[in-house]
Amino acid sequence: MAGASSWSFREEDSNRIHVILSEFLREANARTGMIVDRTGQMVAIVGEEPSFDPTAFASLTAADFSANDQLARMIGEPEFGSLFHQGEKESMYLADIARRVILVVLFDNRTTLGLVKLRVRQTVLDLRQVFEDMFNRGTADEKPPVETGFLGEAEDELDKLFGA
């Protein structure tokens, strides 16, 4: 593929993430766990379905994390491994996973930052393993992402959407 390396996300990856995050949400008493890719795409949502637009949320999360990465470098840190945004009722905790994706935890007054941080440590390690396995397996054994006919149909849709 042109540009940067691409990666694919399979059903079994999704299942492993769901198991890890469900367990974490229960232990930390948090509401929602999300995995966002560093380029700004939502990979997985576990727990309470958020009421906001997840696509926009993912792009802003990635930008937030990237901007803070640069700030870290300016003060002489290689990175900020985690970020915390505190609201009056709702708060969010973000943690880097394997330098490729971001774990976002949404929680409210039913829990505390301390408990979230305590429980998130193992979760980050477990998720890192899942993503490292995913990136290391490469794409060689992957079925082609787009089968014959995909391009033609996609072009037809483009013409419909943007005018022929």
Binding site: M1, A2, G3, A4, S5, S6, W7, S8, F9, R10, E11, D13, S14, N15, D37, R38, T39, G40, Q41, V43, A44, D53, T55, A56, S59, L60, A62, A63, S66, A67, Q70, P144, P145, V146, E147, G149, F150, L151, E153, A154, E155, E157, L158, D159, L161, F162, G163
Partner: protein
Amino acid sequence: MSMINYASREINCKLVYYGPGLGGKTTNLEFVFNKVAPNSRGKLISLATETERTLFFDFLPVDLGTIRGFKTRFHLYTVPGQVYYNASRKLILKGVDGVVFVADSQIERMEANIEAMQNLYDNMAQHGYNLTTIPFVVQYNKRDLPNAATLKELQAALNPGWPVDDAAKQRVTPDPYHEGEFLVEQVDGTWIERAPYFEAVAMTGDGVFDTLKAVSKLVLKSLGS
């Protein structure tokens, strides 16, 4: 770096609009936002200053629908045009699948165009991406203005072509969008390739969809290769 999510059966592609300040990048996105059916697009997010200059980026997701079982979506981003926001410009290029360079046709903006193009090459290289191998199109915006430079001048300054070393690619390739012109051709004994270009007046929407459609098609093609 399009991500293919087999679990949720989604393909997401990232397109970035790059170019000098006040060239019309945000206007391109606003036109798309206003013209595409609301059920085919998400919210337009703008991280802008109080004077409506893009501070970090604008973002607009556009749904192509479900194709062969995959929900296919384009994520459109703009970068800030002003040079002092270079750090955020660079961040937005991370994982880009296709680039649209929006040039300001006004003759007075030629230098700003060249500077932004050089900056695009540099920032892409810093991510390890090569602009000559990823889907890339150039849009000459503001064609309606009386002080617009000629296409010939703009092409010579901004899209003169890069050398084609791969013998397999050294074939005369007509430009599908301009009769009698070529995307790949031999000039003074050297094979060169140019990015497809489009004329536009983003304020009225002229050329906006042509540009977007061309870069989207190139990105979709790159998925299969």
